[in-house]
Amino acid sequence: MTEQTKPWLESRLPIGQAFRTHIRDLPLAHDRPYLAALGTLITATVIFLLLSGFVLSLYYVAVEGEAFASIQFITRGVNDGWLIRSFHACGTTMLFGATYLAIFRALLTGAYRLPGELVWILKLVFLLLILLIGYLGYALIDGATSYWSLHQATTAGGMLSGFPGAISNWFFGGPAGPGTLPRLAVLHGLLTFICLGVLVLHYFAKRAIATIPAKTVNLHPHYTSHHFVAFAVFGLIFAVLVFFAPHLGENPLNAVAANPLVVPAVVTPPWYLLPAGAFAGALPGTMGGIIAFIAAFAVLFAVPWLDRSKPGALPSGTYKTLTFILGLDVIALSLTAAAGPSAISAILTIIFTGWYFLHFLVLTPLVTAGETK
């Protein structure tokens, strides 16, 4: 096609060309597992959350003491407001479920191994971002546990000095007060767009290291029909949650408006923040919590270099078994955090956290060192 015969728009803004180069004409492997659709599902879910969140923001009042009532109004007084709210809450559950699964899959299959380290790091950056956004969304509910969690976080943050204190001050804007919820609401929406940006980077980073498959299929109808199945199953699980378990994994104590005079018995976050909360609770004090949380993520970031396998080696059976045990360990740690503080849970937290670090710092280098191509 010459420049003259190209359509007006295409010759000035080659969107069609970009679509063909970056999506349609890619060499697509013929033996693609369904779990490989997780990236597309995650991207679709983030966009879905942006849209449902936008609709909610039209009625949500970001004022401490009024926010909870405004959500009650959305679920009772706004046409189909309860449905949009459940979409947003259960969409979050689906997003975290898919992200945890994708990260677990990357660990299990050894996808993080060189040259996949940047793809792996971008996955972790995405997880960190959605953890932060998820926490902000949870704080915005202004229910009993939301309120106390936010107040404990800002109070603890306010006592920090130096760089951590500056970060806390920059983020929360000082102790929780009238300005806090509007600030968090803006950050909640803004960071979601940055999330989308990270997904785009992840897509291109993954493409850059992809090997050309021996046997390829077309985007349409092969990959579209493949994604159709993935979306249908994902949608089915989502619908079961929205209509039959809209509050799955939430602390029931957060279903009442915050009372500044009464601290709830157990201030536990929704399920998807539990692993992060559990690590933060593993060491005493605010600085201890921050150090434990950073350490837990630092070992994840370091996995490509803790792994001592030869280039091109596939994960051994022992490594895979250990990775499954790690998955169970993180689930057990989260359940311990959900049960609330007690003498037994303090011991269990130390055991489960200890195993987590043992897995990455000792077992991973030992087991992978023996793997050859």
């Binding site: 459940s86 092969h222 089915l236 209509f243 039959f244 009442v256 005079l261």
Partner: protein
């Protein structure tokens, strides 16, 4: 495949049929609790009467408005009558007024009840694990304290309350209300009905949620089957 679709339809009909049954007292059972359950509107109306006559003297339900009562099966005129019988500071309540708050602020309530603030009841049923049963067990759980136990001042022994001491005096008694439908107003009946009402108050969209949900899930199961069949056909020979 051919056997699956009729089986799904039959189970759907069975579930929706089940959802039309009534709440029962022996054993305590609420129709809203099943996976596809829906509210027994007669029980909700009786429960509202108990709430209005007994609970509302001390407890607020700030999220509820008088217009919401039409969801219990009352007509708009009946709801308006109920509203106009309530005296607010500004005059008789209207459909768009929130349920009357018995105290102007939490401090007044705390003063009236020696420091114990009666909680808002709008969402109490979702704020407790197994909220419906909990409310029923709490309201029927008053008993004479065992000899080994010393109660705190102005507290009552209750088997369902955490710590077994509650500041709320036994609120229900036989014939505390007189039901329009002739149901005998025993303490257990009143407790069961008000538990149903507060469950509705915490989750007023349950009926619509379950009705839409059943159709949505059946549709998505069908869509998933179609998607798998399509994919298999397209990928044949790849």
């Amino acid at each position: 495949m051919r056997r699956l679709i009729p089986a799904l339809l039959i189970s759907a009909i069975a579930f929706t049929h089940n959802a039309r049954a009534e709440d029962t007292l022996n054993p305590p059972h609420w129709q809203s609790q099943g996976t596809f359950g829906s509210y027994d509107k007669a029980a909700l109306q009786r429960g509202f009467l108990v709430y209005q006559t007994v609970c509302a003297a001390c407890h607020s339900a700030n999220a509820l408005h008088y217009r919401d009562l039409t969801a219990l099966g009352l007509t708009t005129a009946q709801a308006a009558d109920i509203a106009s019988s309530v005296k607010l500071a500004t005059g008789p309540a209207t459909l768009d007024d929130a349920f009357k708050n018995p105290f102007p602020d939490p401090q007044t309530a705390a003063t009236a009840f020696a420091g114990a603030i009666p909680p808002d009841l709008s969402t109490i049923a979702s704020a407790r694990p197994k909220g419906t049963e909990y409310i029923y067990n709490l309201l029927t759980g008053y008993a004479t304290a065992p000899d080994s136990m010393t109660l705190m001042a102005s507290h009552y022994y209750n088997t369902a309350y955490p710590g077994e001491q509650i500041a709320m005096p036994p609120p229900l008694k036989d014939d505390a209300v007189s039901y329009a439908d002739g149901t005998k107003a025993t303490v257990a009946q009143e407790a069961s009905d008000v538990a149903a009402f507060l469950t509705w108050s915490a989750d007023p969209n349950l009926d619509a949620r379950h009705a839409i949900g059943l159709r949505a899930v059946l549709f998505l199961i069908f869509l998933t089957i179609l998607a798998i069949a399509t994919k298999r056909k397209i990928w044949r020979g790849v």
